[in-house]
């Protein structure tokens, strides 16, 4: 096997439990490794930072010519995550108005109490059981409840948007060599339905605000600051999906990693004030987002390789966060690590919008579980993983008490 097939091997489902040896191979072969489908793969920290901050690298998939996009791939209406400045900046700023500083500096912080309460209720419900599924019993319900409250989506509609979410996330996955046309088509259909659903919810709140973000979006008095229907739909879909899909993995990976490192778990149980640093190290060591794609808008030279305009560049963020040229002893899970500037939330202008919320949720969930984890054991290691290579995490995590 050669480095030219690394992307296929990384995205191969069999690699899901432990892609890290492949990342080591990638860094060894790198920094920039051309793949058989014409795309480039980058797995070293400094090159990834350089590309994430390079304004000539586009996040917009419509700029891709190599590999050729599937005929049915989405050609219009993208969320700001996949747009470039100045459009990205305009939409992200509008989306930020009801969520964070400078216009809503206290919003996320004000949810702390509520998040702690939800978490406490979920964890209380686990009492007395001899085994639980961390995913279904905590890591999934918590962020879903939180993002529903924040956006203004009825919690009981979860089965509906879960189906759309699964289709949309699958359509955005990176899977070289596979025929993606059918998946893209299903994704487009799901996007339309989910958009219509969220727009409907927003419309119900027009003139009758209910203290959530959909209400804020639809009742914005300044026409300059109002999202169009299409923009509101795309933004709401993005926030709803990104608001829970990644956090599920962060919490689950957190429990898995702590149970695999009993000494670190023991220390954290004694000193729970180390939780914030522990979550940062989890974001480096077992991040929810492994791969991102960028497309150069001009021929771009990186570490001696010229990547032609329009060619897909896959950034292996999870590999960069384990680059020994950047992190001392990177394969070691070390919650006391200093200078931990990981890629857990990306870097550059697309730096995770919801990072402050994800941090609070992960800290709350792990904090609430800590007292019970002392005697916990993993019933299945490695656990079964979800299909997705880009957003990597266990499908279930069975823990015995």
């Amino acid at each position: 096997m050669t480095a030219e097939t690394l992307l296929e091997r990384i995205t191969d489902y069999a690699s899901r439990p432990d892609p890290y040896p492949l990342y080591a191979e990638l860094r060894e072969a790198g920094p920039v490794v051309r793949q058989t489908d014409g795309s480039y793969l980058v797995g070293t920290y400094h090159e990834i930072v350089g590309l994430l901050h390079d304004p000539r690298l586009s996040a917009d998939p419509r700029n891709r010519t190599t590999p050729a996009p599937a005929a049915s791939e989405e050609t219009q209406h993208l969320p700001f995550l996949r747009l470039d400045d100045p459009e990205h900046h305009r939409l992200r700023t509008l989306a930020m108005r009801p969520f964070g500083p400078p216009h809503s500096p206290g919003r996320v912080d004000a949810m702390r109490g509520e998040i702690t309460r939800f978490t406490g209720e979920l964890v209380d419900g686990l009492r007395g059981r001899d085994h639980v599924d961390i995913v279904d019993d905590l890591a999934y319900p918590l962020p879903v409840t939180v993002i529903c409250r924040l956006l203004g989506v009825p919690r009981e509609d979860e089965p509906r948007f879960r189906e759309w979410t699964d289709l949309l996330v699958a359509s955005a996955d990176i899977s070289p060599g596979e025929d993606t046309a059918a998946r893209a088509e299903a994704g487009r259909e799901a996007r339309m339905q989910m958009g219509a659903y969220l727009l409907g919810l927003a419309e119900q709140r027009r003139g009758r605000p209910t203290g959530d973000m959909l209400s804020d979006f639809v009742n914005e008095p300044d026409p300059q600051l109002r999202l169009t229907g299409e923009e509101l739909a795309m933004t709401a879909i993005l926030l709803l999906i990104a608001g829970h899909e990644t956090t599920v993995n962060l919490i689950t990976n957190g429990v898995l990693t702590l149970l695999r490192h009993p000494d670190k778990l023991e220390r954290l149980r004694r000193e729970p004030e180390l939780l914030p640093e522990t979550v940062e190290e989890l974001l480096r060591y077992e991040p929810p987002v492994h791969l991102r794609e960028r497309i150069p808008l001009a021929d771009v030279e990186i570490a001696g390789t010229v990547i032609p305009k329009g060619t897909s560049v896959i950034l292996a963020l999870a590999s960069g966060s384990r680059d020994p040229l950047r992190f001392q002893d990177p394969e070691r899970f070390d919650p006391a690590r200093k200078d931990n500037e990981h890629f857990g939330f990306g870097s550059g202008i697309h730096l995770c919008y919801g990072a402050p919320l994800a941090r609070i949720e992960a800290q709350a969930a792990l904090g609430a579980l800590l007292p019970g984890l002392g005697t916990a054991t993993l019933l299945q290691d490695p656990p079964p993983y979800r299909r997705n290579a880009m957003l990597r995490g266990p499908r279930h995590l069975l823990v015995g008490f």
Binding site: D85, P86, L297, I349
Partner: protein, 455 residues
């Protein structure tokens, strides 16, 4: 003699950002000897950038900006005491209270003070202020809270512009005078200074450029000022924001290469003496230093930047207690930030070291842009307005001496970016305010050339 020093006596003169960070770093790196920090202000180390922003706005008390300590430096703090001299042979720092401190290694981090209004009787009028210390900020904030009818700010550098911004945010009328053609022109050059002027005027500042203040009027209390264009400004408060003066007078007889531009040191923060010979035991960090920078042709650079004080103090501390081959150079790229009139301005590199500029991303109309500065075909600096996340990329271009103008391709780059404009940086001597970045030539001992014979 080994350069390694883990015990012994270290004296740090200067108890602000550089002094504190150096003291912490010394302990961090294993120095176990005696450590004394001397500061002429009575307050423990505090942060100055908030003074011209949150403190003047009334959002924070002037005495609430204490610098957090990364660790207890276990130092003896001699606060409220001024250093008055240095005996380099006897290796002692002389203090204002008549005592002296012996040292094995000395770090000079005495920083700068505000340049006072040059006419002492006028400067002494009630209502005339400068802004450098927390005491200054407390007095000025109190006066702004009292609701003066008009504030006069002399000098439209960063400090003056930030003060004007605060005044407008508080709903106060403000007049700004600047001898140069526009605000911030000395730091950012012609194009961005026009944006700065437009943003001041759009926020209701009475901006007067190309004029100087010829006298401050008042009878005990400040009542107004006469300008060189024959006009007069009536105001209750005057803030003199004409830049900084380096605190080097106490070193006049020390034999060090200390002059109004600062104390010359090598890349390892070791001070030069007046003959251009590097000293073994005297180190310099922060605003008071001049140090050679490879990105700027090894000219000695004077920076009044927060980040530089931190970085240089850490390098100085490391080198003070490390043997020669383990010493490190201070190479970090200069950076600074300012917030004014709702704009976030960040800079990397030395914008004044330039002959041309391009707007590489964004636009003046959008009030959101990256201005890239070039000198003889390489990138030497970048300034972002409301685009701080874009700065890292340009820092890499500066560090790698990338060709200017930077290559095209950014989604938000306009066609105009392909045509560089003159950077239009004026001679600092033509401005009301002193520069916060200055290239001060190659020779540490140039003071010998400049010195006047004394009787």
């Amino acid at each position: 003699m080994s350069g390694d020093l883990k015990e012994g006596r270290i004296v740090v003169v200067g108890a602000s950002l550089a002094g504190l960070r150096a003291a912490e770093a010394l302990r961090e790196k294993g120095f176990t000897g005696s450590l004394t920090v001397v500061g002429d202000e009575p307050h423990p180390p505090y942060d100055r950038p908030p003074l011209s922003k949150h403190v003047l706005l009334g959002n924070a008390s002037a005495y609430s900006t204490g610098l957090p300590m990364r660790r207890d430096p276990e130092a003896e703090w001699r606060l409220g005491v001024r250093a008055t001299g240095l005996d380099p042979v006897g290796k002692r720092v002389l203090l204002g209270d008549g005592s002296s401190l012996p040292f094995d290694r000395l770090l000079i981090a005495t920083g700068t003070r505000a340049r006072p209004w040059p006419v002492p009787e006028e400067a002494a009028l009630d209502g005339v202020f400068t802004l450098r210390t927390s005491d200054d900020a407390a007095r000025l904030a109190e006066r702004l809270s009292a609701g003066p009818r008009r504030v006069l700010v002399i000098g439209a550098g960063f400090t003056g512009s930030e003060i004007a911004s605060v005044c407008r945010e508080r709903g106060l009328e403000v007049t700004v005078t600047e001898r140069g053609p526009a605000p911030l022109v000395g730091a950012l050059g012609g194009t961005l200074s026009k944006l700065a002027a437009a943003m001041q005027r759009a926020h209701g500042v009475d901006l007067r450029c190309g004029v100087t203040v010829t006298s401050l009027r008042g009878n005990g209390r400040f009542t107004g000022a006469d300008l060189s264009d024959g006009t007069r400004v009536d105001a209750d408060v005057c803030v003199v924001a004409m830049g900084a003066v380096r605190n080097v007078e106490w070193l006049a007889d020390s034999g060090l290469a200390a002059d109004p531009r600062g104390i010359a040191c090598d890349a390892g923060c070791r001070a030069f003496d007046m003959y251009g010979i590097v000293t073994d035991d005297v180190f310099v960090a922060g605003d008071v230093s001049r140090f050679p920078h490879p990105l700027y042709e090894y000219q000695l650079l004077s920076l009044e930047h927060w980040r530089n004080a931190v970085d240089q103090a850490e390098v100085a501390a490391h080198n003070m207690i490390s043997p020669g081959p383990l010493r490190r150079p201070h190479l970090s790229v200069p950076t600074f930030w300012s917030s004014q009139f709702g704009y976030n301005i960040k800079s990397v590199g030395v914008p004044t070291f330039s002959d041309e500029v391009v707007i590489a991303q964004g636009s003046l109309e959008a009030r959101r842009l990256v201005m890239v500065y070039g000198y003889r075909g390489r990138v030497t600096a970048a300034v972002t307005v409301n685009m701080a996340k874009s700065l890292d990329y340009y820092e890499r271009l500066i560090e790698s001496a990338a060709p200017f103008p930077p290559p095209p391709g950014a989604a938000d780059r306009r066609a105009a970016a392909e045509v560089p404009l003159p950077s239009d940086v004026p001679d600092p001597s033509r401005l009301s305010h002193g520069p916060t970045v200055a290239l001060t030539g190659y020779l540490p001992d140039r003071r010998l050339v400049l010195a006047k014979p004394t009787g």
